[in-house]
């Protein structure tokens, strides 16, 4: 029973990372925006949600219902996306990367230092989870895992719809060749800004789910480690492939959390925790070196498959012929 609980908890965490990885895939995989600020936008969403819904005396919590909190989280993260995106999306890709990276660190400093608002390093404890009263103890954990997986499924469906819509095609066009896309009269900057704000709104909502999962909120939950873990998941799974994003996150979280099985002394625990970084780092390095397209490579549906000219037998081989070279431009 205990290991079943462990697996359930792990699945819930993997589900949350899969959502982040899916969002990042829209940003970076399809549109080519290199976002290193996932942790920052997640923190903005999580703290907004907590402060809006929190109902504890002595805090600034507003005690509003959950859906208001979710809405506020999405809006706050979206606004943060606007602020970061406005100056940096016009410029070369590297600048967005630097700005988002710095943004995430600044947000972490703000939530650590503004104690009157966020309670600093102590954070908030015992935060309520949705529908908690309907389930007893252990059962709730299973329910929560199912809830996360259902949200993930909806999310995946939305991501698929978006990336294979005309807008998704426009995104890939921008990624591949900005000048050519500009020449057919598309507004690149507006599209980028729109998608960047939209994906960060999603990240804000995931922030709320992350708070449900941990039932506490602390600045140390939002280090750039999250960003890099999500990127690693995406790279392992396959940039530009939504299924890959989900699979990569699940694989990575299971590998990462597996070390928790070992019972060791506190001294060894530090070493083990450090070695986890080494393992993740090497996973990233070796996947990039030997299989840069990830577990699943990007599949661009050709006109033939769309029109169903070939019944059934049209293998993937013919479809992803240029994916390897495209993923990393």
């Amino acid at each position: 029973m205990e290991w079943l609980l462990f697996i359930a908890g792990l699945l819930a965490l993997a589900g949350i990372y899969a959502m982040l990885s899916l969002t990042l895939n829209i940003d970076s995989g399809f549109l080519g925006l290199w976002n290193l600020g996932v942790a920052g936008f997640l923190a903005v969403g999580a703290y907004t949600y907590t402060l809006v819904t929190l109902d504890q005396p002595g805090t600034l919590g507003l005690g509003m219902p959950i859906w208001v909190g979710l809405l506020a989280a999405a809006i706050a993260s979206g606004v943060a996306g606007l602020i970061v995106g406005l100056p940096s999306l016009r410029l070369k890709k590297e600048y967005l990367l630097i700005t988002t990276f710095a943004f995430a660190e600044v947000i972490r400093q703000v939530i650590t230092n503004e104690k009157w608002l966020t309670n600093g390093n102590i954070g908030f404890y015992g935060l309520p989870k949705p529908f908690e009263s309907y389930f007893s103890g252990i059962n709730y954990i299973f329910f929560f895992t199912v809830l996360v997986l259902v949200i993930l499924a909806i999310y995946f469906w939305l991501a698929q719809r978006l990336t294979y819509s005309p807008l998704g095609r426009l995104m890939r066009a921008i990624r591949e060749n900005e000048s050519a896309t500009l020449s057919i009269g598309k507004d690149i900057y507006r599209t980028k800004l729109k998608i960047f704000i939209l994906t960060n709104m999603f990240v804000g909502i995931v922030g709320a789910i992350y708070v449900w999962y941990s039932s506490i909120i602390l600045p140390s939950m939002f280090t750039s480690t999250i960003t890099f873990t999500v990127w690693t998941a995406l790279v392992i799974g396959g940039i530009g492939n939504n299924k890959g994003a989900v699979i990569g996150a699940i694989v990575l979280i299971f590998v990462q959390e597996f070390t928790r099985f070992f019972q060791v002394s506190p001294d060894m625990a530090v070493v083990l925790a450090s070695l986890r970084w080494v393992v993740i780092g090497f996973m990233l390095v070796f996947v990039l070196r030997f299989r840069p397209q990830g577990i699943l490579s990007e599949k661009i549906p050709s006109v033939e498959t769309r029109m169903k000219l070939f019944n059934g037998n049209f293998s993937n081989k013919g479809v992803d012929f240029h994916s390897k070279s495209q993923s990393f431009k």
């Binding site: 600048y95 400093q109 970084w277 990233l284």
Partner: protein, 284 residues
Amino acid sequence: MDIIKFGIVTGCILLLSTVGFSMIWKSEKFLNIAHGQLILVGAYIAYLFNVTLGLPFAVSAIGSVVVTAFIGLLIAKVFYYPVRHQGQLVLLFTSIGLAYVIYGTVQALAGTKVKAYNLAPTQALTIGGKSFFTPHEIAIIFIAITCALSLHIFLAKSKSGRGIRAMAENIRLAQIRGIHFSRLYTFIWLIASGLAGLAGVLLAMNGSLHTDIGWIEILVVLSAAVLGGSGAIYGAMLAALIIGLSMDFSTLIIPASYRPTVAFLIIILVLFIRPQGLSKGGST
């Protein structure tokens, strides 16, 4: 007065860490996030020599710079060179992966406790009754200026230095003109990594030595590199001093814990007003 003093010291250390980062950005065309972790490596190797092995500090510092330079070159040869043809993003994420590998390794070996070098405590010199720099701070400033000058002389006068600049501008043309570029890349990685190691030693000497200094420093380095203009070496030097000073000046207005926030605000401002950075057209 104290603020100007701290600002100059911060700026000098930042100069050393940024110059190497900018050289790599300019010549290899990617943001080497692992550069921050080389700073960490430099700081801890000096600790290893100085405290664990009991060598004098100056010897440990020099030893650390040399060892870090070769570690940097080794990492480049083993991990970066083979994925160069795959483009910027692969190089960038390889460097992030390596940053984690280095960070984890150092932490596993050294633990997470804050450490300090075996340095004789010093008194600030007084001139006319006012406290002036401590000998350590003077040493940091002196080392930074010497390094900046010798790097300038190397780049401006020596054949290899001119080759490096030519390569950064246009690698094809440089190759046609007979520049031995694989040897120059070796130089670049050695210099950049050695400077990172030196910056790490000085950083830990000036503040405290813990395993997160690499991550903290790389953010400030990124903003200095952006302000300097993408990969411009002289621009980066000037930018490092400006950012060091403004970070310490900001403590007059806002809490000290927000120092790195200032660097971020500078990035945003630069991107709005002058995205090409300080130097003209971003060239070296």
